[in-house]
């Protein structure tokens, strides 16, 4: 596997009132292409901040972040937005679907940023929904779906534009064990069959077991790697 994501000497701090809180001080990380990484750690260890930096929704104070050989830390807001649309799919803990749209329309959202025709978008949406086994729920609104089904729609939305990287923030945190396992199996399938690189933040050791390796983060540094 080749280097896909590389973080070099990344520093990140937040200001709370007059106090500056350092999250990362010279953090280094390499994730090969096609990896499925779980990131675990206590609250405040920097898991979500790491995900924000990897997804281009936040910026580091210093250091380098490269993605498939492309340096993104110096990108403007507009460049980062376009880069995200092209390369990253996001899966959130609470699904974050648009309640006014049907499952199919929610999945179609990222495709509105492409130049695909309406017919082509429809085909892609159906394919994504078939992958998550929800083609028969295409016309249902989120409130008409169970939590597990909503998360599947969110996964379909994340993969519909065929991004190289999937970032998952506690994707099973709101689900029961059985449904969580189904979701994690789907992610595993996406990793194995479609070659998606997946980085998943989780508190759940059971969920982490679905990943190929687990990185343990504490006080802004990786302290342990479990394979």
């Amino acid at each position: 596997m080749t280097d896909f994501i590389r973080l070099t000497d990344v520093c990140k701090s937040y200001t709370r009132g007059k106090e500056s809180i350092s999250i990362f001080d010279r953090l280094n990380l390499v994730i090969p292409k096609g990896d499925f990484v779980a990131i675990m750690g206590p609250s405040g260890s920097g898991k979500t901040t790491l995900l924000n930096l990897l997804g281009g929704t936040d910026r580091c104070d210093s250091g380098q972040i490269s993605f498939d050989g492309e340096r993104i830390e110096g990108y403007s807001e507009g460049q980062l937005t376009a880069w995200r649309a092209r390369n990253v799919g996001f899966i959130f803990q609470f699904y974050n679907l648009m309640p006014i749209l049907t499952a199919a329309q929610n999945v179609e959202l990222p495709l509105l940023l492409t130049s695909l025709s309406a017919q082509r978008r429809k085909e892609n949406v159906l394919t994504a929904l078939k992958i998550v086994e929800l083609a028969d729920r295409a016309r249902h609104k989120p409130k008409e779906l169970s939590g597990g089904q909503q998360q599947r729609v969110a996964i379909a939305r994340a993969i519909v534009s065929d991004p190289k990287l999937l970032l998952c923030d506690e994707p099973t945190g709101d689900l029961d064990r059985s449904t969580a396992n189904d979701i994690l199996s789907t992610l595993q399938l996406l990793n194995r069959e479609l070659g998606k690189t997946i980085i998943m933040v989780t508190h759940d050791p059971e969920a982490a077991r679905f990943a190929t390796r687990t990185l343990h983060l504490d006080k802004g540094q990786f302290v342990e790697v479990t394979t």
């Binding site: 649309a85 996001f90 959130f92 974050n96 959202l109 509105l112």
Partner: protein
């Protein structure tokens, strides 16, 4: 699915709230359409009913104060005056004063129908009958239609100003003609009867008239003639003020108040209220969607596209309300123009400039109310929006 669909779905995510907002915008634009429509019709009526070489001589104190009828001959003798007539407000009503008041003047038939020949179009022989018959009255087409009056009919026309020596307020008048205006849209809700008939039978105000209308040889000498007339009667018990007919009509309308100012104030108050209501509601509506906007930006929707969508919502909202309000105002004005009230104003309608101004105002309202929430959506930070820190 496209951006317009998303705008529509977002706008109607809480249908009751959106409908109530549209109703409030609708009311503001209905008020705008009706008031401005009436104002335009009034202004048009003063324009169309005026001739450039016709001037009105009125008492300098106020046009409701009388002038001696003897002034007519003296005014006629002033160089540049080619014709003169007079008219006296009668305060006319039929049967019930509260319900059936209309415009009624006591005039000198021959000179009046000559000087106002452009506005009073009578049938063959009707002018001659009006001149001949002491109790004759000519009635405007719309007034005649309203009451079903016909030529030859004798009507008891009452006055809320004058009374007869026996205390009665009613004068029997015989309809000798029904007149039309110069154009079908000109108001014809008036009647004119013989001044002598009134003058001989009223116990007060005898040998006085309301105003005198003069016809000048050319509009170019209007000022000169007006100065000469007013100079003739300067320092007399009845000083005069002479102005062209258009100015006089506008001054007449202003007696009811400065309509332009009143309408501007009413419309401004309605829009200020709507601005507050719609603006605040949109701000809170966008705040409710903070997380969704954060998700859209995370998915890769650029800030300017999100701004455009929020602005699109406010524009669509005010556009719908404005269109409905102006549409209903147009229908109402059309209906009013066929009613007795409408006859007073002439052709009431939603003119293209008023409709265009209304839609312009709707767009402006949409922009102003949508700007704050749209900018807030544009500036919204993804991490703050999603609470991901």
């Amino acid at each position: 699915m496209n951006d317009l669909y998303l705008i529509w779905m977002n706008l109607f995510r809480k249908p009751l709230r959106t409908v109530l907002l549209i109703v409030s915008i609708f009311i503001a634009f209905l008020i705008f359409g009706l008031l401005v429509g009436v104002n335009v019709a009034l202004n048009r009526a003063t324009e169309t009913g005026s001739a450039s070489n016709r001037m009105v001589v009125a008492n300098k104190i106020n046009f409701t104060e009388p002038l001696p009828i003897a002034y007519l001959n003296r005014v006629s003798a002033i160089p540049g005056v080619v014709g003169a007539t007079h008219q006296s407000w009668f305060g006319a009503f039929f049967r019930d004063s509260a319900q059936s008041r209309f415009v009624g003047f006591a005039v000198e038939p021959e000179s009046y129908t000559a000087i106002f020949a452009d506005q009073i179009k009578l049938g063959p022989g009707e002018r001659e009958a009006f001149i001949r018959e002491r109790t004759g009255v000519i009635v405007g087409r719309s007034l005649a239609n309203q009451y079903g009056w016909q030529v030859g009919q004798t009507l008891p026309i009452s006055s809320d100003i004058y009374f007869r020596p026996d205390g009665s307020r009613s004068w029997d008048m015989k309809v000798v003609g029904i007149f039309d205006g110069a154009k079908p849209t000109d108001p014809t809700n008036a009647l004119y009867f013989n001044y002598d008939y009134l003058n001989e039978t009223r116990p007060f105000g005898r040998d006085t008239v309301g105003t005198i209308t003069v016809l000048t040889a050319s509009p170019d000498i209007n000022d000169q003639v007006a100065k000469a007339i007013d100079a003739t009667f300067a320092n007399s018990p009845f000083e005069t003020s002479t102005v062209d007919e258009k100015t006089f009509s506008r001054a007449f309308l202003k007696q009811a108040g400065d309509l332009n100012f009143i309408i501007t104030m009413v419309v401004a108050a309605a829009f200020a209220a709507i601005l507050m209501i719609v603006g605040t509601t949109l701000v809170s509506a966008v705040r409710e969607r903070t997380k969704e906007i954060g998700v859209m930006k995370t998915l890769g929707f650029p800030g300017h596209r999100v701004l455009r969508m929020v602005l699109g919502e406010s524009l669509l909202l005010s556009g719908l309300g404005g269109l409905l309000g102006l549409g209903v105002a147009a229908v109402a004005l059309n209906g009013l123009s066929r009613s007795p009230i409408g006859e007073t104003f002439g052709a009431l309608s939603m003119t293209a400039p008023v409709a265009a101004a209304g839609m312009g105002l709707a767009l402006l309202l949409g922009l102003v109310t949508g700007l704050a929430p749209a900018l807030s959506a544009l500036r919204m930070n993804i991490i703050d929006a999603l609470g991901r820190r």
